[in-house]
């Protein structure tokens, strides 16, 4: 049983001091300043005046920026969907692997996840470039077909795989896939396996068991996997920056340019907080879904 803090004031205050100080001064304060800035406007070159204006938010809803928000949503949503489709069979296989194999399979998923994000993104550049591995492989196939048929396919045209929206989605799936697999595994592993066996015994196929038994029961875990993948994907900066083209900017890239290049901090602040609000809304929605799922089970 927890102790009331009054029974050991000294210890309580000592233990609370550092984390509370750090959280307030080095996390809440910086974000609060950004929040205040989002209601301010540039005053001269360096100063920012707090005027309580909503114009930054209004600016963020102008068609140009609204478009970028919609696009970021699309990209993050597509990434999440692909991660779910690709990751689900993997999570299923890990769940039903033998005890000996299981840690190794999980390690297989986790290792890339521990590797530096920048390095992983960089590695993709070499694969996707015009003279990258995929195009080289395609060219080899192309040329050998050409050799056999006497040039029926014509000159090889490398696919444009880098610096476009395809590359961004590909990169985000590559980077975020472990985020999806791990919560899915943790949800599937908690399922009562005898129910699955019952369903299969009673004549349902694997696909039907999946949709009628597994997904309804693991719903909350699937939702949390979706959330854990969607939030970082929505706010990703590095992947669209390095792999994307001129038209694949996402919200984070606009925020960065407002702070570092355009020097319009109030507007950048408003965009940042819109992203924070979206994150909180996503978490709240997930919380409501989870509570509902729990009620259904109870």
């Amino acid at each position: 049983m927890e102790q009331s803090w009054r029974q050991a004031k000294g210890l309580f205050l000592t233990l609370l001091s550092a984390p509370l100080f750090w959280l307030v001064v080095f996390f809440i304060a910086p974000l609060s300043i950004v929040w205040l800035y989002s209601f301010g406007q540039n005053d001269g070159l360096v100063d920012i005046a707090f005027t309580g204006t909503w114009s930054n938010y209004a600016h963020a809803f102008s068609p140009l920026y609204l478009n970028i928000f919609v696009k970021s949503f699309w990209i993050a949503g597509l990434t999440t969907f692909l991660c779910l489709v690709i990751g689900f069979p993997v999570a299923l296989a890990i769940t039903f692997a033998s005890d000996k194999l299981k840690p190794w399979l999980l390690l297989l998923v986790m290792l890339p996840f521990m590797t530096n994000l920048l390095i992983r993104t960089y590695a993709l550049i070499a694969v996707l470039r015009t003279k990258g591995l995929i195009n080289m492989g395609l060219e080899m196939v192309h040329n050998s077909v050409n050799g056999m048929t006497g040039g029926a396919l014509g000159v090889f045209e490398p696919l444009a795989l880098l610096n476009n929206n395809f590359a961004v989605v590909f990169g985000l799936v590559f980077v975020n896939l472990p985020f999806m697999i791990l919560p899915l595994y943790s949800a599937l592993d908690r399922l009562d396996k005898s129910l699955l066996e019952a369903s299969l015994d009673l004549g349902a196929g694997h696909i039907r068991t999946l949709f009628n038994v597994v997904i309804p029961m693991a719903g909350a875990g699937i939702a949390s996997g979706i959330l854990i993948t969607f939030i970082p994907a929505l706010g990703s900066y590095l992947t669209p920056d390095l792999l994307g083209g001129p038209d694949s900017q996402m919200i984070a890239n606009v925020i960065e340019s407002q702070f570092k290049r355009a020097n319009n901090w109030p507007f950048g602040a408003a965009l940042s907080f819109l992203l924070v609000y979206l994150t909180f809304i996503a978490i709240a929605v997930q919380g409501v879904l989870e509570a509902r799922a729990r009620k259904r089970v109870a």
């Binding site: 803090w5 998923v109 590797t115 390095i119 070499a126 994150t279």
Partner: protein, 289 residues
């Protein structure tokens, strides 16, 4: 003479998904997807050519180049120093937060608990601009401080996003602690503080190590927040690699990246050694029903 009964290959049981070929093929495909790019990166760091796609022969010259590139070495040293300092601070602050939440009832506990989760969920870019503004307007970090003091701003930023993760790991471990042990220590005359240091801390030691390795990896991995906090003379390894990548794709970057990948893999294995492989299955892999 008895003939040995040849074990007949059993068809897979209904739930042995791992023995079905579509799932096997899928797993292999995902493994290639996840590892292919990284392995190519590592292989081509040994390539005797500027090209990172055509194999020309084995060489170590890009390692030599990377290891004699002074700014790259400085950046690497900065990254390790930052990771080390922020890990020590994160473990202390994170463990304190975990213990205070586990041990005490107090007004505003839910609020504190909730606020502690915010750094984990808030998008990196937002935290990055927060740090940029904070160190530009509120606490301008003096320029030209001697090393490693000039890294202070980045270390502070890294602790801010790492210590809540440490707190989560430590709290999970504290949940399995039998509170009666601490009471027994106090009954035997130990003060609150002694009981904490001699009874609770030894119990959570594995989680402290795990938390430390997590904080270290997070710090070493971070690009976005550092990008917004770093000044021109405080370049970290990811920031340096970023500027090199923007410039061109060279085997030198491959060599430097390979070194970092090897470091990360070693750290991960070390973490698992301390926690046991149960840590991977989060305890529910081996439990008997």
């Amino acid at each position: 003479m008895t003939t040995a009964i040849k074990p007949r290959k059993m068809p897979p049981a209904p739930l042995e998904y791992l023995r079905r070929w579509p799932i096997q093929a899928w797993l292999i495909g995902v493994t290639i997807f996840l590892y292919g790019p990284l392995l190519t990166l590592m292989v081509f760091s040994f390539n005797d050519s500027r090209s990172t796609t055509i194999w020309k022969g084995f060489t170590l010259k890009y390692y030599q180049k990377a290891l004699t590139n002074e700014s790259l070495i400085t950046a690497f040293g900065n990254s390790l120093t930052i990771a080390l300092c922020s890990t020590i601070l994160s473990v202390i602050v994170g463990a304190m937060a975990a213990i205070v939440l586990w041990r005490f009832r107090f007004g505003g506990k839910t609020l504190f608990d909730g606020a502690l989760a915010v750094p984990i969920v808030v998008p990196e870019i937002c935290m990055g601009v927060g740090m940029l503004v904070f160190f530009a307007k509120v606490l301008p970090w003096p320029q030209g401080l001697p090393w490693p003091l000039n890294l202070g701003a980045i270390i502070i930023a890294h602790v801010s996003f790492s210590f809540p993760f440490v707190a989560v790991v430590v709290r999970a471990r504290l949940a399995s602690f039998n509170r009666e042990l601490e009471e027994a220590a106090k009954d035997l005359g130990a003060s609150d503080f002694r009981a904490l240091m001699d009874v609770v801390i030894p119990h959570i030691k594995p989680s402290l190590i795990a938390g430390a390795l997590l904080a270290f990896t997070l710090s070493l991995d971070d690009f976005v927040i550092t990008f917004f906090t770093a000044g021109p003379d405080t370049v970290t390894f990811p920031v340096k690699v970023y500027s090199m990548v923007r410039f061109s794709v060279t085997p030198e970057v491959n060599a430097a990246s390979t070194i970092l990948i090897v470091v990360t893999v070693l750290l991960t294995f070390l973490a698992l050694k301390f926690q046991g492989s149960d840590a991977l299955t989060a305890g529910h892999g081996t439990e008997k029903k």
